[in-house]
Protein backbone atom coordinates (compact mmCIF):
# COMPACT_ATOMS: atom_id res chain seq x y z
CA UNK A 1 0.00 0.00 0.00
CA UNK A 2 1.39 3.35 -0.98
CA UNK A 3 0.36 6.53 0.75
CA UNK A 4 -0.44 9.60 -1.29
CA UNK A 5 -0.28 12.58 1.02
CA UNK A 6 -0.70 14.91 -1.93
CA UNK A 7 -4.43 14.36 -1.60
CA UNK A 8 -4.30 16.46 1.57
CA UNK A 9 -2.37 19.34 0.02
CA UNK A 10 -4.44 19.25 -3.17
CA UNK A 11 -7.60 19.72 -1.16
CA UNK A 12 -6.38 22.26 1.35
CA UNK A 13 -8.79 25.05 0.36
CA UNK A 14 -11.73 22.72 1.03
CA UNK A 15 -10.22 21.55 4.31
CA UNK A 16 -9.52 25.13 5.37
CA UNK A 17 -13.11 26.00 4.61
CA UNK A 18 -14.16 23.03 6.77
CA UNK A 19 -11.92 24.22 9.61
CA UNK A 20 -13.38 27.71 9.46
CA UNK A 21 -16.90 26.34 9.54
CA UNK A 22 -16.04 24.13 12.53
CA UNK A 23 -14.67 27.16 14.38
CA UNK A 24 -17.68 29.25 13.37
CA UNK A 25 -20.03 26.54 14.65
CA UNK A 26 -18.19 26.33 17.98
CA UNK A 27 -18.18 30.11 18.50
CA UNK A 28 -21.77 30.64 17.45
CA UNK A 29 -23.04 27.76 19.54
CA UNK A 30 -21.29 29.07 22.65
CA UNK A 31 -22.38 32.64 21.95
CA UNK A 32 -25.98 31.42 22.06
CA UNK A 33 -25.63 28.66 24.67
CA UNK A 34 -23.99 30.83 27.36
CA UNK A 35 -26.85 33.35 27.62
CA UNK A 36 -29.22 30.46 26.94
CA UNK A 37 -27.71 28.51 29.83
CA UNK A 38 -27.96 31.50 32.19
CA UNK A 39 -31.59 32.03 31.20
CA UNK A 40 -32.44 28.36 31.74
CA UNK A 41 -30.60 28.35 35.09
CA UNK A 42 -32.58 31.42 36.21
CA UNK A 43 -35.81 29.78 35.12
CA UNK A 44 -34.93 26.65 37.09
CA UNK A 45 -34.13 28.75 40.18
CA UNK A 46 -37.31 30.78 39.73
CA UNK A 47 -40.26 30.21 42.07
CA UNK A 48 -42.63 30.67 39.11
CA UNK A 49 -43.79 27.13 38.50
CA UNK A 50 -44.41 27.05 34.71
CA UNK A 51 -40.99 28.61 34.03
CA UNK A 52 -39.34 26.17 36.38
CA UNK A 53 -41.13 23.21 34.84
CA UNK A 54 -40.33 24.21 31.27
CA UNK A 55 -36.63 24.72 32.01
CA UNK A 56 -36.39 21.45 33.93
CA UNK A 57 -37.99 19.49 31.09
CA UNK A 58 -35.81 21.21 28.50
CA UNK A 59 -32.61 20.54 30.41
CA UNK A 60 -33.42 16.95 31.35
CA UNK A 61 -34.48 16.16 27.78
CA UNK A 62 -31.51 17.53 25.90
CA UNK A 63 -28.90 16.62 28.49
CA UNK A 64 -29.84 12.97 28.28
CA UNK A 65 -30.13 12.51 24.52
CA UNK A 66 -27.16 11.70 22.27
CA UNK A 67 -26.26 14.80 20.26
CA UNK A 68 -26.34 12.87 17.01
CA UNK A 69 -29.96 11.97 17.68
CA UNK A 70 -30.81 15.61 18.37
CA UNK A 71 -29.10 16.57 15.12
CA UNK A 72 -31.22 14.10 13.15
CA UNK A 73 -34.29 15.14 15.07
CA UNK A 74 -33.66 18.80 14.31
CA UNK A 75 -33.12 17.95 10.65
CA UNK A 76 -36.33 15.96 10.18
CA UNK A 77 -38.68 17.28 12.85
CA UNK A 78 -37.84 20.96 13.27
CA UNK A 79 -38.97 21.97 9.75
CA UNK A 80 -42.29 20.14 10.23
CA UNK A 81 -42.77 21.57 13.70
CA UNK A 82 -41.94 25.18 12.85
CA UNK A 83 -42.77 25.28 9.16
CA UNK A 84 -39.38 26.89 8.53
CA UNK A 85 -36.94 25.46 6.05
CA UNK A 86 -33.65 25.92 7.83
CA UNK A 87 -30.25 25.55 6.20
CA UNK A 88 -28.17 22.56 7.24
CA UNK A 89 -25.86 24.91 9.15
CA UNK A 90 -28.72 26.51 11.08
CA UNK A 91 -30.19 23.09 11.84
CA UNK A 92 -26.90 21.76 13.14
CA UNK A 93 -26.40 24.94 15.11
CA UNK A 94 -29.83 24.60 16.71
CA UNK A 95 -29.15 20.99 17.71
CA UNK A 96 -25.81 21.89 19.30
CA UNK A 97 -27.37 24.88 21.06
CA UNK A 98 -30.09 22.69 22.58
CA UNK A 99 -27.50 20.31 23.98
CA UNK A 100 -24.92 22.84 25.16
CA UNK A 101 -27.52 25.22 26.63
CA UNK A 102 -28.82 22.34 28.73
CA UNK A 103 -25.29 21.58 29.96
CA UNK A 104 -24.46 25.25 30.57
CA UNK A 105 -27.68 25.67 32.49
CA UNK A 106 -26.59 23.07 35.02
CA UNK A 107 -23.15 24.64 35.20
CA UNK A 108 -24.57 28.10 35.90
CA UNK A 109 -27.16 26.76 38.32
CA UNK A 110 -24.41 25.19 40.43
CA UNK A 111 -22.30 28.36 40.15
CA UNK A 112 -25.14 30.66 41.17
CA UNK A 113 -26.14 28.38 44.05
CA UNK A 114 -22.56 28.39 45.32
CA UNK A 115 -22.67 32.14 46.05
CA UNK A 116 -23.96 32.47 49.60
CA UNK A 117 -27.20 34.33 50.28
CA UNK A 118 -25.39 36.95 52.37
CA UNK A 119 -23.87 38.39 49.21
CA UNK A 120 -27.29 39.11 47.74
CA UNK A 121 -28.45 40.46 51.11
CA UNK A 122 -25.51 42.85 51.23
CA UNK A 123 -26.61 44.19 47.86
CA UNK A 124 -30.26 44.41 48.92
CA UNK A 125 -29.24 46.21 52.11
CA UNK A 126 -27.60 48.91 49.96
CA UNK A 127 -30.95 49.40 48.25
CA UNK A 128 -30.27 47.34 45.13
CA UNK A 129 -33.13 45.56 43.39
CA UNK A 130 -32.93 41.77 43.20
CA UNK A 131 -31.97 41.91 39.53
CA UNK A 132 -29.23 44.51 40.12
CA UNK A 133 -27.83 42.43 42.99
CA UNK A 134 -27.85 39.39 40.71
CA UNK A 135 -26.17 41.19 37.81
CA UNK A 136 -23.52 43.09 39.74
CA UNK A 137 -22.76 40.73 42.63
CA UNK A 138 -23.88 37.14 42.09
CA UNK A 139 -23.32 36.64 38.37
CA UNK A 140 -19.74 37.99 38.18
CA UNK A 141 -18.70 35.73 41.06
CA UNK A 142 -20.57 32.71 39.71
CA UNK A 143 -19.00 33.39 36.31
CA UNK A 144 -15.47 33.10 37.72
CA UNK A 145 -16.32 29.88 39.46
CA UNK A 146 -17.84 28.19 36.41
CA UNK A 147 -15.34 29.44 33.83
CA UNK A 148 -13.17 26.28 34.06
CA UNK A 149 -16.24 24.11 33.51
CA UNK A 150 -17.37 26.26 30.59
CA UNK A 151 -13.90 25.95 29.09
CA UNK A 152 -14.10 22.15 29.30
CA UNK A 153 -17.53 22.26 27.68
CA UNK A 154 -16.00 24.41 24.95
CA UNK A 155 -13.38 21.78 24.13
CA UNK A 156 -15.99 19.01 24.06
CA UNK A 157 -18.18 21.16 21.84
CA UNK A 158 -15.32 21.79 19.43
CA UNK A 159 -15.07 18.05 18.81
CA UNK A 160 -18.81 17.43 18.94
CA UNK A 161 -19.39 19.84 16.06
CA UNK A 162 -18.22 16.92 13.87
CA UNK A 163 -21.57 15.23 14.60
CA UNK A 164 -23.45 17.70 12.42
CA UNK A 165 -21.63 16.19 9.43
CA UNK A 166 -24.44 13.61 9.32
CA UNK A 167 -26.79 16.26 7.93
CA UNK A 168 -24.20 17.49 5.41
CA UNK A 169 -22.98 20.62 7.16
CA UNK A 170 -19.69 21.27 5.38
CA UNK A 171 -17.52 21.53 8.48
CA UNK A 172 -14.15 19.80 8.86
CA UNK A 173 -15.38 16.23 9.44
CA UNK A 174 -17.87 16.35 6.58
CA UNK A 175 -15.36 17.89 4.18
CA UNK A 176 -12.63 15.39 5.04
CA UNK A 177 -15.00 12.46 4.76
CA UNK A 178 -16.26 13.74 1.43
CA UNK A 179 -12.74 13.97 0.04
CA UNK A 180 -12.11 10.49 1.38
CA UNK A 181 -15.02 8.99 -0.52
CA UNK A 182 -14.21 10.87 -3.72
CA UNK A 183 -10.52 9.93 -3.76
CA UNK A 184 -10.57 6.63 -1.83
CA UNK A 185 -7.55 7.86 0.14
CA UNK A 186 -9.01 6.69 3.45
CA UNK A 187 -5.90 6.47 5.60
CA UNK A 188 -4.48 9.79 4.43
CA UNK A 189 -7.68 11.72 4.92
CA UNK A 190 -8.50 10.23 8.33
CA UNK A 191 -4.96 10.89 9.50
CA UNK A 192 -5.10 14.45 8.21
CA UNK A 193 -8.46 14.95 9.87
CA UNK A 194 -7.12 13.63 13.18
CA UNK A 195 -4.04 15.84 12.92
CA UNK A 196 -6.08 18.96 12.23
CA UNK A 197 -8.55 18.31 15.08
CA UNK A 198 -5.70 17.54 17.46
CA UNK A 199 -3.62 20.57 16.48
CA UNK A 200 -6.62 22.83 16.98
CA UNK A 201 -7.88 21.08 20.09
CA UNK A 202 -4.64 20.73 22.03
CA UNK A 203 -4.01 24.47 22.52
CA UNK A 204 -7.61 24.86 23.65
CA UNK A 205 -7.15 22.09 26.21
CA UNK A 206 -3.97 23.80 27.44
CA UNK A 207 -5.91 27.05 27.70
CA UNK A 208 -8.47 25.26 29.87
CA UNK A 209 -5.69 24.02 32.16
CA UNK A 210 -4.39 27.56 32.44
CA UNK A 211 -7.85 28.90 33.29
CA UNK A 212 -8.19 26.18 35.95
CA UNK A 213 -4.96 27.33 37.57
CA UNK A 214 -5.78 31.05 37.35
CA UNK A 215 -9.31 30.80 38.69
CA UNK A 216 -8.59 28.20 41.34
CA UNK A 217 -7.02 30.65 43.77
CA UNK A 218 -9.87 33.13 44.13
CA UNK A 219 -11.24 33.59 47.68
Amino acid sequence: MTLQWSVVWDNWPALLHGVLLTIALTFTTMAIAVPGGILLALMRLSPIRPLNLFATCFVELFRNLPIILVVYWAFYVLPVLTGLSLSAFATGLAALCFNVSAYNSETFRAGIASIRAGQTEAGLALGMSRSTAFRTIVLPQAWRRVLPVLASTWVSLFKDTSLVSVIAVGELAYTALQIRSQTFRVLEMLTAMAAIYWLLGYPQAKLVDWIHRRMGVLE
Binding site: G118, Q119, E121, A122, L124, A125, L126, G127, M128, S129, R130, T132, T136, I137, P140, Q141, R144, L218, E219
Partner: protein, 251 residues
Amino acid sequence: MTAVPPRPVIQYEGVVKTFGTFTALRGVSLEVNHGEVVCLIGPSGSGKSTLLRCTNGLEPIDSGRVLFDGVALPAQPKALYRVRQRMGMVFQSFELFPHKTALDNVAIGPITVLGMPRTQARERAMALLDKVGLADKAGSLPAKLSGGQQQRVAIARALAMQPEVMLFDEPTSALDPETIGEVLNVMKRLADEGMTMVVVTHEMNFARRVADRVVVFEKGQVVESGPPEQIFDAPKTTRTRDFLGHLGWQG
Protein backbone atom coordinates in the same frame (compact mmCIF):
# COMPACT_ATOMS: atom_id res chain seq x y z
CA MET B 1 -27.00 63.70 73.86
CA THR B 2 -29.20 66.24 72.07
CA ALA B 3 -31.50 68.90 73.43
CA VAL B 4 -34.18 68.34 70.79
CA PRO B 5 -37.14 66.24 71.91
CA PRO B 6 -36.79 62.56 70.96
CA ARG B 7 -38.10 61.74 67.50
CA PRO B 8 -38.67 58.03 66.84
CA VAL B 9 -36.94 56.87 63.65
CA ILE B 10 -37.67 53.17 63.94
CA GLN B 11 -40.74 51.80 65.69
CA TYR B 12 -41.49 48.13 66.17
CA GLU B 13 -45.12 47.40 67.04
CA GLY B 14 -45.89 43.87 68.19
CA VAL B 15 -43.53 42.29 65.67
CA VAL B 16 -44.03 38.53 65.27
CA LYS B 17 -41.72 36.43 63.13
CA THR B 18 -41.83 32.67 62.68
CA PHE B 19 -39.57 30.27 60.83
CA GLY B 20 -41.69 27.19 60.22
CA THR B 21 -42.76 26.01 63.66
CA PHE B 22 -40.15 28.17 65.44
CA THR B 23 -41.27 31.56 66.68
CA ALA B 24 -38.27 33.87 66.57
CA LEU B 25 -40.06 37.04 67.67
CA ARG B 26 -43.11 36.96 69.94
CA GLY B 27 -44.56 40.43 69.62
CA VAL B 28 -41.67 42.84 70.07
CA SER B 29 -42.42 46.53 70.56
CA LEU B 30 -39.59 49.01 70.67
CA GLU B 31 -38.66 52.51 69.56
CA VAL B 32 -35.36 53.89 68.39
CA ASN B 33 -35.06 57.66 68.49
CA HIS B 34 -33.12 59.94 66.21
CA GLY B 35 -29.44 60.05 67.17
CA GLU B 36 -29.81 57.21 69.65
CA VAL B 37 -27.50 54.21 69.97
CA VAL B 38 -29.47 51.13 70.98
CA CYS B 39 -27.64 47.89 71.73
CA LEU B 40 -29.56 44.61 71.53
CA ILE B 41 -28.09 41.93 73.77
CA GLY B 42 -29.18 38.47 74.84
CA PRO B 43 -28.41 34.80 74.34
CA SER B 44 -27.93 33.29 70.86
CA GLY B 45 -31.26 32.54 69.21
CA SER B 46 -33.12 35.09 71.33
CA GLY B 47 -34.29 36.99 68.25
CA LYS B 48 -32.11 40.09 68.30
CA SER B 49 -30.53 39.47 64.89
CA THR B 50 -33.92 38.54 63.47
CA LEU B 51 -35.35 41.86 64.65
CA LEU B 52 -32.49 43.67 62.95
CA ARG B 53 -33.13 41.80 59.70
CA CYS B 54 -36.83 42.68 59.94
CA THR B 55 -35.90 46.35 60.25
CA ASN B 56 -34.90 46.67 56.58
CA GLY B 57 -37.20 43.96 55.33
CA LEU B 58 -34.56 41.30 54.67
CA GLU B 59 -36.95 39.11 56.63
CA PRO B 60 -40.67 39.66 56.12
CA ILE B 61 -42.65 39.74 59.36
CA ASP B 62 -45.73 37.64 60.14
CA SER B 63 -47.65 40.23 62.09
CA GLY B 64 -47.18 43.61 63.72
CA ARG B 65 -45.54 46.60 62.07
CA VAL B 66 -42.10 48.06 61.54
CA LEU B 67 -42.20 51.80 60.92
CA PHE B 68 -39.33 53.82 59.53
CA ASP B 69 -39.66 57.58 59.89
CA GLY B 70 -43.30 57.08 60.79
CA VAL B 71 -44.15 54.99 57.72
CA ALA B 72 -44.68 51.22 57.77
CA LEU B 73 -42.20 49.22 55.67
CA PRO B 74 -43.79 48.95 52.23
CA ALA B 75 -44.63 45.54 50.78
CA GLN B 76 -44.08 46.75 47.23
CA PRO B 77 -40.49 45.81 46.23
CA LYS B 78 -39.49 49.11 44.61
CA ALA B 79 -40.67 51.15 47.58
CA LEU B 80 -38.83 48.78 49.92
CA TYR B 81 -35.61 49.23 47.90
CA ARG B 82 -35.93 52.99 48.42
CA VAL B 83 -36.37 52.58 52.18
CA ARG B 84 -33.32 50.30 52.36
CA GLN B 85 -31.21 53.01 50.71
CA ARG B 86 -31.77 55.07 53.85
CA MET B 87 -30.60 52.32 56.22
CA GLY B 88 -27.05 51.02 56.27
CA MET B 89 -26.38 47.45 57.35
CA VAL B 90 -23.22 45.75 58.56
CA PHE B 91 -23.11 41.94 58.69
CA GLN B 92 -21.36 39.54 61.03
CA SER B 93 -19.56 37.91 58.08
CA PHE B 94 -18.74 41.28 56.41
CA GLU B 95 -20.17 40.18 53.03
CA LEU B 96 -17.77 42.34 51.08
CA PHE B 97 -17.90 41.63 47.37
CA PRO B 98 -14.77 39.50 46.83
CA HIS B 99 -14.42 40.35 43.14
CA LYS B 100 -14.16 44.08 43.80
CA THR B 101 -11.45 46.19 45.43
CA ALA B 102 -12.06 47.91 48.76
CA LEU B 103 -12.67 51.18 46.91
CA ASP B 104 -15.15 49.63 44.48
CA ASN B 105 -16.94 47.86 47.32
CA VAL B 106 -17.60 51.26 48.88
CA ALA B 107 -18.41 52.97 45.57
CA ILE B 108 -20.79 50.29 44.24
CA GLY B 109 -23.85 51.49 46.17
CA PRO B 110 -23.77 55.11 44.95
CA ILE B 111 -22.96 53.93 41.40
CA THR B 112 -25.58 51.22 40.96
CA VAL B 113 -28.32 52.49 43.26
CA LEU B 114 -28.00 56.27 43.11
CA GLY B 115 -26.64 56.41 39.57
CA MET B 116 -23.75 58.59 40.70
CA PRO B 117 -20.94 59.15 38.15
CA ARG B 118 -18.00 56.82 38.80
CA THR B 119 -15.41 59.49 39.54
CA GLN B 120 -17.68 61.20 42.04
CA ALA B 121 -18.59 57.87 43.70
CA ARG B 122 -14.91 56.94 43.95
CA GLU B 123 -14.13 60.29 45.56
CA ARG B 124 -16.83 59.71 48.15
CA ALA B 125 -15.57 56.14 48.67
CA MET B 126 -12.00 57.34 49.12
CA ALA B 127 -13.06 59.87 51.74
CA LEU B 128 -14.93 57.15 53.63
CA LEU B 129 -12.03 54.70 53.46
CA ASP B 130 -9.91 57.49 54.89
CA LYS B 131 -12.46 57.99 57.63
CA VAL B 132 -12.22 54.31 58.67
CA GLY B 133 -8.41 54.48 58.42
CA LEU B 134 -8.01 52.38 55.28
CA ALA B 135 -7.13 54.88 52.57
CA ASP B 136 -3.95 52.90 51.86
CA LYS B 137 -5.98 49.71 51.19
CA ALA B 138 -8.23 51.25 48.51
CA GLY B 139 -6.83 49.02 45.77
CA SER B 140 -6.81 45.79 47.78
CA LEU B 141 -9.19 42.91 47.24
CA PRO B 142 -11.07 41.84 50.40
CA ALA B 143 -9.15 38.54 50.53
CA LYS B 144 -5.97 40.56 51.16
CA LEU B 145 -7.44 42.35 54.18
CA SER B 146 -7.67 41.24 57.81
CA GLY B 147 -11.10 40.64 59.34
CA GLY B 148 -11.06 43.98 61.13
CA GLN B 149 -10.07 45.78 57.95
CA GLN B 150 -12.79 44.01 55.98
CA GLN B 151 -15.40 45.01 58.53
CA ARG B 152 -14.25 48.63 58.44
CA VAL B 153 -14.59 48.59 54.63
CA ALA B 154 -18.07 47.14 55.11
CA ILE B 155 -18.96 50.03 57.42
CA ALA B 156 -17.63 52.50 54.84
CA ARG B 157 -19.69 50.72 52.17
CA ALA B 158 -22.87 51.18 54.20
CA LEU B 159 -22.00 54.84 54.95
CA ALA B 160 -21.51 55.54 51.24
CA MET B 161 -25.29 55.59 50.84
CA GLN B 162 -25.42 58.34 53.52
CA PRO B 163 -27.96 56.40 55.56
CA GLU B 164 -30.10 57.89 58.30
CA VAL B 165 -29.73 54.75 60.42
CA MET B 166 -27.01 52.12 60.74
CA LEU B 167 -27.86 48.52 61.61
CA PHE B 168 -25.03 46.37 62.97
CA ASP B 169 -25.54 42.59 63.15
CA GLU B 170 -22.88 41.24 65.53
CA PRO B 171 -20.18 43.20 63.71
CA THR B 172 -17.29 41.86 65.79
CA SER B 173 -18.39 38.25 66.39
CA ALA B 174 -16.36 36.86 63.48
CA LEU B 175 -13.22 38.84 64.29
CA ASP B 176 -9.92 37.92 65.88
CA PRO B 177 -9.68 39.51 69.33
CA GLU B 178 -6.87 41.84 68.28
CA THR B 179 -8.93 43.42 65.48
CA ILE B 180 -12.16 43.91 67.43
CA GLY B 181 -10.96 47.20 68.93
CA GLU B 182 -10.38 48.93 65.60
CA VAL B 183 -13.94 48.15 64.48
CA LEU B 184 -15.48 49.24 67.79
CA ASN B 185 -13.50 52.50 67.62
CA VAL B 186 -14.96 53.28 64.21
CA MET B 187 -18.43 52.54 65.56
CA LYS B 188 -17.82 54.69 68.62
CA ARG B 189 -16.77 57.60 66.44
CA LEU B 190 -19.89 57.16 64.33
CA ALA B 191 -22.00 57.24 67.49
CA ASP B 192 -20.24 60.39 68.65
CA GLU B 193 -21.11 62.05 65.32
CA GLY B 194 -24.77 61.49 66.17
CA MET B 195 -25.57 58.56 63.90
CA THR B 196 -28.68 56.60 64.87
CA MET B 197 -27.47 53.05 65.47
CA VAL B 198 -29.03 49.70 66.30
CA VAL B 199 -26.31 47.27 67.32
CA VAL B 200 -26.71 43.56 67.99
CA THR B 201 -23.65 42.72 70.03
CA HIS B 202 -21.96 40.50 72.56
CA GLU B 203 -19.47 43.27 73.39
CA MET B 204 -20.79 44.29 76.79
CA ASN B 205 -18.09 46.91 77.32
CA PHE B 206 -19.08 48.58 74.06
CA ALA B 207 -22.76 48.46 75.02
CA ARG B 208 -21.92 49.98 78.38
CA ARG B 209 -19.72 52.76 77.05
CA VAL B 210 -21.52 53.74 73.87
CA ALA B 211 -25.20 52.76 74.10
CA ASP B 212 -27.87 55.23 75.14
CA ARG B 213 -30.16 52.32 75.73
CA VAL B 214 -29.62 48.58 76.10
CA VAL B 215 -32.37 46.10 75.25
CA VAL B 216 -32.15 42.56 76.62
CA PHE B 217 -33.73 39.77 74.55
CA GLU B 218 -34.73 36.30 75.56
CA LYS B 219 -36.79 33.76 73.62
CA GLY B 220 -38.06 36.30 71.12
CA GLN B 221 -39.15 38.84 73.70
CA VAL B 222 -37.77 41.99 75.28
CA VAL B 223 -36.90 41.13 78.88
CA GLU B 224 -35.65 44.51 79.92
CA SER B 225 -34.79 47.83 78.36
CA GLY B 226 -33.04 50.81 79.84
CA PRO B 227 -29.89 52.90 80.08
CA PRO B 228 -26.67 50.87 80.37
CA GLU B 229 -26.22 51.87 84.02
CA GLN B 230 -29.52 50.20 84.86
CA ILE B 231 -28.92 47.05 82.79
CA PHE B 232 -25.37 46.44 83.91
CA ASP B 233 -25.36 47.81 87.48
CA ALA B 234 -28.92 47.40 88.69
CA PRO B 235 -30.83 45.03 86.41
CA LYS B 236 -34.50 44.89 87.25
CA THR B 237 -35.18 41.35 86.11
CA THR B 238 -33.52 38.11 87.20
CA ARG B 239 -33.30 37.01 83.58
CA THR B 240 -31.09 39.99 82.74
CA ARG B 241 -28.98 39.20 85.78
CA ASP B 242 -28.77 35.52 84.78
CA PHE B 243 -27.73 36.36 81.23
CA LEU B 244 -25.04 38.79 82.35
CA GLY B 245 -23.95 36.30 85.00
CA HIS B 246 -23.44 33.64 82.33
CA LEU B 247 -21.15 36.04 80.50
CA GLY B 248 -19.11 36.50 83.66
CA TRP B 249 -20.17 40.13 83.89
CA GLN B 250 -19.07 41.49 87.24
CA GLY B 251 -20.72 44.89 86.94
